[in-house]
Amino acid sequence: MVRAVDAAETAPTSYAWAIHAEELKVRAGRRMAVDGLDLRMGTGVHGLLGPNGAGKTTFMRAVATVLRPAGGRLTLLGETVNGRFDLRGLRRQIGYLPQEFGFYRRFTVREFVEYIAWLKEMPSRDVPGAVQRAIDRVRLTDRADDRMRTLSGGMVRRAGIAQALVNDPTVLLLDEPTAGLDPDQRLVFRALLRELAVDTCVVVATHLVEDVAAACTDVVLVDAGRLVFQGLPADLAAAGADVGATGADLAADSPAERGYSIILRRHRERIGAQP
């Protein structure tokens, strides 16, 4: 008998965290970009914040299983990644938008998303519908059959988000997804994130603190490859609210941005005082 929902979809998960990093070390070139990161992420939208070079992109690439951990343990959906070579089953459940990505310029948007769906080994019966749905979700319906080279920067970014969504991933990794999006599209994107937060572990690496404050259920702050802070967006704002207590003279606009700066500075002072 044909069932609309198969048993695998309703089966309870056998893991506590979708992404679990213990003392994770990942190399980017010669530098150890992620250096002893301890992190747990479950269902929801996690905003990954940090200054340039904090190891955000390297962490994302490690979780996308593109980079191999140099030390520690990385467990994705209950499966340990280190030393495993057969990652196909795991990779089918991951959606990944790299920070910088190339595409074949003569592809149309639909062909681009279709190609990624094929790379993700989706059954060819499901591909056309899934591709259309992904394109609709990022509001590129009217440009679906235009070639990639005719799109603006923001539209290319949205096509990138569409390809990450196409396989309905359990773990969705978006590296700088809002770069180049206009304010209206950013609102659409935040709504999409809230929708995804229900059943997906979304990790959004970004510089924009206000994106995190508006759409994320969880904030993770990293610096120099280590975890600095993990908590609710409200906690970040609260840290910024008692600005008088710390005597900070920060010119940041929102409490969340102030909180980000204060937490980062306190962390660096603490690290600086240790050795």
Binding site: M1, R3, R91, F101, R106, T108, L119, S124, D142, D145
Partner: protein
């Protein structure tokens, strides 16, 4: 279960939302409806008879959807000549450029050969000499960060691995080998002499490439062939022993060994081990 039908009386009660239906019966009805189109059709008719509230709700949803569809952007008509599923057969642009270059080089070797044959005809055929390493230019671009713009996507995908590499290599060979065969036919270099060496070099580049990077492996093998075989035979103006018919069993054995090595390393090119 296929020819079973939900009893009409039960279906009427189900449509009316009767709370008195046993949970097990309810479950069986719903499970059956999911898979049985004819019962779903009967349910539709039963709902219209039994539940005016549901019918009204459906009409309201229909109206609202129609209004939304009327103001939403419509998808443009599919481009003419666009084929669904074409994308999976498209190759990275870097590879296409390399293949075009290979065909031009084969043509250049062919014209030099023809010039030589018009004259004294003392040199061995260049088409024959270069045929074994001709696919390497394209093979180097099959799996390359520099030449494939979508490399990061490919690397993170489940399909990354030997299957994808072989598929692209096969598509590249389907361009290079006919070009070589045509050129070889014009100068009398039969495929029997160069096809096996050609495959051996291609497989060898793939096997080595997994360790040192595909570009490096291709360049290394091509350089070794040019210095070790092409150079000497042009200087001495003799046909190389390695391309004589007697060497064919050795090439066949080499191709087989390399193919087995490739097949044993099925986790090759999955991204994690080969960080090139």
């Amino acid at each position: 279960m296929k020819h079973d039908q939900v009893p009409a009386e039960l279906l009427e009660r189900y449509a009316a939302g009767d709370p008195g239906i046993n949970p097990d019966e309810l479950w069986a009805v719903e499970a059956h409806l999911e898979g049985c189109a004819s019962c779903r059709e009967r349910l539709g008719a039963a709902v219209q008879r039994q539940s005016p509230a549901t019918t009204a709700l459906l009409a309201r949803v229909g109206d609202r959807l129609a209004a939304e569809i009327a103001i939403s952007t419509t998808m443009p008509r599919r481009r003419r000549g666009q084929v669904l599923g074409r994308s999976r057969w498209l190759l990275p642009p870097g590879l296409l450029a390399r293949l075009a270059m290979t065909v031009l080089l084969v043509l250049a070797a062919l014209s030099l050969d023809l010039v030589d044959q018009q004259g004294r005809g003392e040199y061995p055929s260049l088409v024959l000499l270069f045929a074994p390493v001709a696919p390497l230019l394209g093979v180097a671009a099959v799996w390359s960060r520099r030449l494939d713009p979508a490399y990061e996507f490919v690397m993170a995908s489940p399909r990354a691995g030997l299957y994808l590499v072989l598929r692209r290599t096969l598509l590249a060979l389907m361009v290079v080998i006919p070009a070589l065969a045509a050129a070889g036919w014009a100068v009398g270099a039969s495929p029997a002499r160069w096809l096996l060496p050609c495959l051996a070099f291609t497989a060898g580049a793939l096997a080595l490439g997994e360790v040192v990077g595909l570009s490096r492996a291709a360049i290394g093998l091509a350089a070794a062939w040019v210095i070790g075989v092409v150079g000497p035979s042009m200087l001495t103006a003799t046909s190389p022993v390695l391309l004589a018919p007697g060497a064919l069993p050795a090439w066949a054995a080499l191709t087989a060994v390399v193919a087995i090595v490739l097949a044993l390393r099925r986790d090759a090119y999955t991204g994690l081990r080969s960080g090139h």
